[in-house]
């Protein structure tokens, strides 16, 4: 089977990869691009830890083929901090204890980042709705919701 030469922007950097049709985007990001911030959990499109930003939309990268990302712009948790300064979403998760084991956190952060672009001033109900594709087994969600609220405030005040 023919392999495909693909090229896409990952966190602002142009990357090229030679992939099989059946390779999933999450595997190429982790194994070929070496960016292991994006995690793999359920592999069945349920848990959301593999969430990345694809052309400005949150998607589960375990359920997107790498060939489908050809020509696109992808952002992962590694793309949030700029010049060593954490993004407001990351600051807020740290400050509000929005994580315990941290396994779900990369997915939570990159989803929260996109959600706050879609809805910069959300209610608690809207945050729950917006993050409903991301599961956490540790926190009970309370502090995650608080963190997103605080991140929204931080982002509004700059």
């Amino acid at each position: 089977m023919a392999k495909h030469n693909i090229s896409f922007k990952l966190n602002g950097q142009q990357v090229n990869a030679l992939v099989e049709s059946r390779e999933l985007l999450v595997h190429v990001i982790r194994e070929q691009c070496g960016q292991t911030g994006t995690h793999i959990g359920c592999e069945t499109s349920h848990c959301g830890v593999c969430t990345v930003d694809l052309n400005g939309e949150s998607v589960k990268s375990c359920t997107v083929l790498a060939v489908q990302a050809d020509g696109s712009e992808v952002m992962t948790v590694e793309g949030l901090a700029q010049n060593g300064v954490l993004h407001a979403v990351q600051e807020a998760f740290m400050q509000e204890h929005g994580l315990q084991c941290g396994f779900c956190t990369p997915g939570m952060l990159i989803r929260a980042y996109r959600f706050l672009q879609e809805n910069p001033n959300p209610t608690e109900e809207e945050i729950r709705w917006g993050l409903s594709g991301n599961l956490c087994r540790c926190t009970g969600y309370q502090n995650i919701i608080k963190a997103v609220k605080v991140a929204a405030e931080k982002m509004q005040s700059v």
Partner: protein, 288 residues
């Protein structure tokens, strides 16, 4: 988990899709949002040798009104359905259904065409399409045909879509005044398929129910219409007593499969309760 090996094709027109489907026959499958097909391929429930990605075909995306019908491109995503002002005005049932499908990430990828063509009894659009009396536009080697949603769903993963055909468009008659809908879906948690769901579209003439369609999700081998329950209400002034009779009639025709969401008896009772609620909601909305 990764899918088995396949050749990937990325056509940009419907004609190219039809040509590819003709060339590869039953070895080929269409890939839309991939949120039913890719999980099945990971589990080897599906092993197509050729995958035809239709995500870059502009002509089958988007929503517009033409010739008195609302036309939805098969490749329109759930989140696009939710955001559509036109649907909100002309056919609010569709965004209401889309809002309860899966989660934000899945709704960015999953399409209305894929949800319908898949033939999964747990999918939510089929029952909505039957309740709306929608029609589907299918394109194949012999040209285009238009088929009604009522009659399209033949069994689990089995529809009237023939080998070599692609669904291009969904056509829906807009609501007229006096029309109301109800959609109630019981699920265990966000992102779960329905334990049971009921969709109702009804039209009032004064206080009389001039027409009604009642459809059920995930309580049979496919989404289905409860004709006998409809007959109890059509032509009547709908009362609580009649709603109860219709709900009992729905219970008589449910054939759910027992699974982690519950046993046959529980699901049957839930289908009846979802129907009671949907009739009441539709009635309230029809009265405005």
């Amino acid at each position: 988990m990764i899918p088995g090996k396949f050749e990937y094709h990325i056509p940009t027109t419907v004609d190219e899709v039809v040509a590819l489907l003709g060339e590869y026959g039953d070895e080929a499958k269409i890939l839309a949002g991939g949120h039913s097909l890719l999980p099945m391929m990971k589990l080897r429930f599906a092993e197509p040798a050729h995958l035809i990605d239709i995500s870059r075909i502009g002509e089958i995306k988007g929503i517009h009104e033409q010739g008195g019908t609302v036309r939805i491109g098969a490749m329109t995503t759930e989140n696009e359905l939710i955001a559509s002002e036109l649907l909100q005005q002309k056919c609010p049932l569709i965004p209401a259904v889309a809002r309860l499908i899966a989660d934000p990430q899945v709704r960015n990828r999953g399409t209305i065409g894929g949800d319908i063509a898949h033939g999964d009894p747990g999918n939510d659009h089929p029952a909505a399409m039957m309740a709306l009396d929608a029609t589907f536009v299918l394109r194949g080697p012999n040209g285009e045909r238009e088929v009604p949603a009522n009659g399209f769903f033949l069994g689990t993963y089995w529809t009237d879509l023939q080998q070599g055909e692609i669904m291009t468009e969904i056509r829906v008659p807009p609501f007229t005044s006096g029309t109301g809908y109800g959609f109630n879906k019981l699920k265990r948690k966000t992102g779960d398929f329905a334990t049971a769901a009921s969709t109702v579209v009804l039209k009032l003439n004064g206080n009389t129910c001039a027409d009604i369609r009642i459809t059920l999700t995930n309580v049979g081998p496919t989404a289905f219409r409860a004709d006998e329950a409809e007959n109890i209400l059509r032509g009547q002034v709908i009362s609580e007593a009649l709603i109860e009779q219709a709900a009992q009639q729905v219970m008589a025709v449910c054939e759910p499969a027992k699974d982690l969401r519950g046993d046959e008896e529980y699901k049957t009772h839930m289908a009846a309760e979802m129907t009671r609620r949907s009739i009441r909601d539709a009635l309230a909305r029809a009265k405005g």
